[in-house]
């Protein structure tokens, strides 16, 4: 028996359901994008920074009228947490696929990106990699995977070539190197590349030390360092361990001719420079960096800092990755996955703050991407190489 009240309620629901398509047709639809990062677990800090970058980009895109070729469709973020493990990341991709996202942006760490890009490939789901520097990510022939930033091979080559330039200019004071890296794909891969490149330039790689995430104590590694006494120390690890390592070196009074990081987790981090100005002083890093010449990057930096956050590489890399994707959706004029992939392949995206050459994707890798070399000088991070972006003259060797 249906009561009068129930009848009215049901009728109203039915009427609104029938009316909905009309209302829906009048309003621009949304484009669902999966935003997938390790926002909990060991990599949570970086993951949250990445998420912040993507969300700021979405905010900007929507504020400027959304995707115009889709009638001003707004981008709707579907947030996912990879929990700092590849398995959880892949599981989130499944969920996002079910929820009907048009593309995914993520997933910070190389090991997680390997899993998420592969999971997304099953559904031909476009996946823009925001950081993930391991080159295996774009070397497996996955048609859905695109990385805007440079891989670790490129970074290692640039770093070693520039080290040689700096060292030669200073009269070759440095000959021996010690590499300290974290144990996952990113650190190990970077260390292997460096160990292969460095001897070619006449450097003696005396020791390669691997450590876990998290590592509680770096005293032993620094004691080894004392024994080996290298001219140059190259760390390749994430923020916490990087900070602890450099502080322990300071404590044990180990002062190599240079701390020369390749994708160093804290080397070009405003957080590190602010918290440990003395330990950070003089550190050189070959890393993702924005163009200091571009006014928009400084505006973005101010906005991030106004939120009480640090303008770390995670933020601007993820921000740019989302802008790249939005540009592709705009040109695809569709939320269809294949159309977006096609648009990404043809991308010549240039409206960004990165110091890159012309955007051109070959097998999913942006060939124009490059890292910059920075050095911590007087409590700030300044670009030293290449010359086009140079803000200060490099100081090498440090204790020379």
């Amino acid at each position: 028996m249906t009561s009068r009240r129930q009848f009215i309620g049901q009728s109203a629901a039915a009427a609104s359901a029938m009316a909905f398509p009309l209302v829906g047709g009048a309003q621009p639809k949304t484009v669902k994008v999966g935003v997938l990062h390790p926002v909990t677990g060991a990599l949570a800090y970086s993951g949250q920074q990445c998420r912040e970058g993507v969300m700021m980009a979405i905010e900007d895109i929507n504020k400027l009228g959304g995707i115009k070729s889709l009638g001003g469709a707004k981008i709707e973020a579907l947030l996912g947490d990879a929990q700092s493990t590849p398995q959880a990341g892949a599981a989130e991709v499944e969920k996002m696929n079910e929820a009907g996202v048009s593309a995914i942006v993520g997933a910070f760490a190389s090991a997680i990106c390997l899993a998420t890009t592969q999971a997304a490939a099953k559904y031909n789901l476009p996946h823009v990699v925001d950081v993930g520097v391991a080159d295996q990510i774009v070397e497996r022939g996955l048609k859905n995977t695109f990385r805007f930033g440079p891989g670790y091979k490129k970074c290692a080559e640039v770093a070693v070539a520039n080290l040689h330039v700096l060292n030669t200019a200073a009269g070759k004071p440095a000959r021996s190197v010690m590499i300290i890296h974290e144990e996952s794909l990113f650190g190990t891969g970077t260390a292997n590349l460096l160990a292969r490149e460095l001897p070619g330039y006449g450097y003696d790689v005396k020791e390669i030390v691997k450590h876990a995430n998290p590592t509680r104590d770096f005293n032993n590694i620094v004691l080894r360092m004392k024994q080996v006494n290298p001219d140059i120390v190259i760390p390749a690890n994430y923020y916490n361990e990087y900070a602890l390592l450099v502080r322990t070196m300071q404590q044990q009074k180990v002062t190599p001719k240079a701390i020369y990081s390749v994708l160093g987790g804290a080397a070009s981090s405003y957080k590190f420079v602010k918290e440990f100005p003395e330990a950070a002083n003089g550190i050189i890093d070959c890393n993702h960096w924005f163009s200091p010449r571009d006014k928009r990057s400084l505006e973005l930096k101010k906005r991030v800092e106004a939120k009480n956050l640090f303008f770390s590489y995670e933020v601007f890399m993820a921000y740019t990755a989302m802008r790249l994707l939005a540009d592709a959706i705009e040109r695809a004029k569709s939320t269809d996955r294949a159309a977006i992939i096609d648009a990404l392949n043809k991308s010549t995206f240039s409206d960004h703050i990165m110091p890159y050459g012309t955007t051109q994707f070959v097998n999913g890798q942006n060939m124009g991407a490059q890292p910059l070399m920075t050095q911590v000088v007087k409590g700030d991070i300044k670009v030293i190489i290449p010359r086009d972006y140079r803000e200060v003259e490099p100081i090498f060797p440090l204790n020379g």
Binding site: Y45, G47, Q48, T215, I221, K226, N240, L244
Partner: protein
């Protein structure tokens, strides 16, 4: 092969680290010895204490060592209330329930910390953070040396309390025979909660000694809790001397292992010891065979 001076520095480093491990393991072994439960919330409680020390320093500028008189009683109260109000009630007298309740508490605490404090790793900067003390040829960070001495003092106090006070006797009585103790007029629920309180207070002290040379984030406890479990098994479940000796031993093994095998593989030593103890002397170094 390493220089003797470097080996010496590594051993010293291991001993100072081990002392803090011991302090954390003491709390764990006390709770195990009396309540016969494995407290999975131990790591999360340490994290809570570390945040306490951190905010006292950041908000009112209180030095971590001067924070001891605040953090230790606060952690005691935290542990006491946790046991009395949540664990005791939710367990309905079953040990396996307690296990799950403490596991649940750890998940809740970690995620609350994630919610309120974000996942940021936070450090404090003190005037002595990077100060080192020369012992022979080795340089030891001052905060580590203070932690070592502090851990020994706290352990001594704890041992004295257990041996010479009525509370200590009551705790030992409850640990041995809970029904008998109740018949003798001991308030068993109170003793349980006191144990949890004291165990947590140890973490409060550990946090004050740890933070000047370490960091805090919502997951920080996990790194310590596995090591603490190993120490408790090594020293003998419920043995205080065992926890202290075990802590120092594990610290040295970890340090030397790290030096020779590398930091990743170095921890293997800890677990080799763990397995060897379980096989050869399951009651632990100082445990009593039951």
């Amino acid at each position: 092969m390493f220089d003797l001076s470097i080996l010496f520095a590594s051993v010293l480093n291991g001993i100072t680290t081990g002392a803090v491990y011991a302090l954390i393991a003491l709390g764990l072994t006390l709770i195990y010895g009396v309540l016969h439960i494995i407290n999975f919330a131990h790591g999360a409680s340490l994290m809570v204490a570390l945040y306490g020390v951190y905010f006292l320093k950041e908000k009112i500028g209180l030095d971590p060592y001067l924070a001891l008189p605040i953090v230790v009683p606060a952690m005691f109260a935290f542990g006491y209330v946790l046991q009395r109000v949540i664990i005791n009630r939710a367990s309905h007298g079953k040990d396996e329930n307690i296990l799950l309740v403490t596991l649940g508490i750890s998940i809740v605490l970690e995620n609350l910390a994630l919610l309120f404090f974000k996942s940021d790793t936070r450090n404090i900067e003190t005037a002595y953070t990077l100060t080192t003390v020369n012992i022979g040829t080795a340089m030891i960070a001052l905060p580590k040396l203070v932690a070592f001495i502090g851990a020994l003092v706290v352990s001594a106090i704890l041992l004295a309390v257990m041996r010479f006070t009525f509370l200590g006797r009551a705790i030992r009585a409850v640990a041995k025979e809970k029904h008998g103790a109740r018949l003798m007029g001991i308030d068993v629920d109170h003793v349980y909660a006191m144990c949890f309180g004291i165990g947590s207070a140890c973490l409060g002290a550990a946090a004050c000694f740890l933070l000047p040379a370490y960091y805090v984030n919502p997951m920080v406890g996990n790194g310590f809790v596995l090591v603490a479990f190993t120490i408790v098994v090594l020293g003998g479940m419920g043995s205080f001397v065992g926890a202290l000796v075990g802590g120092l031993l594990i610290g040295v093994v970890e340090s030397i292992g790290g030096l020779y095998l590398g930091e990743s593989l170095g921890q293997v030593g800890i677990f080799v010891i763990f397995i060897a103890i379980l096989l050869l002397r399951p009651q632990g170094l100082f445990g009593v065979r039951t």
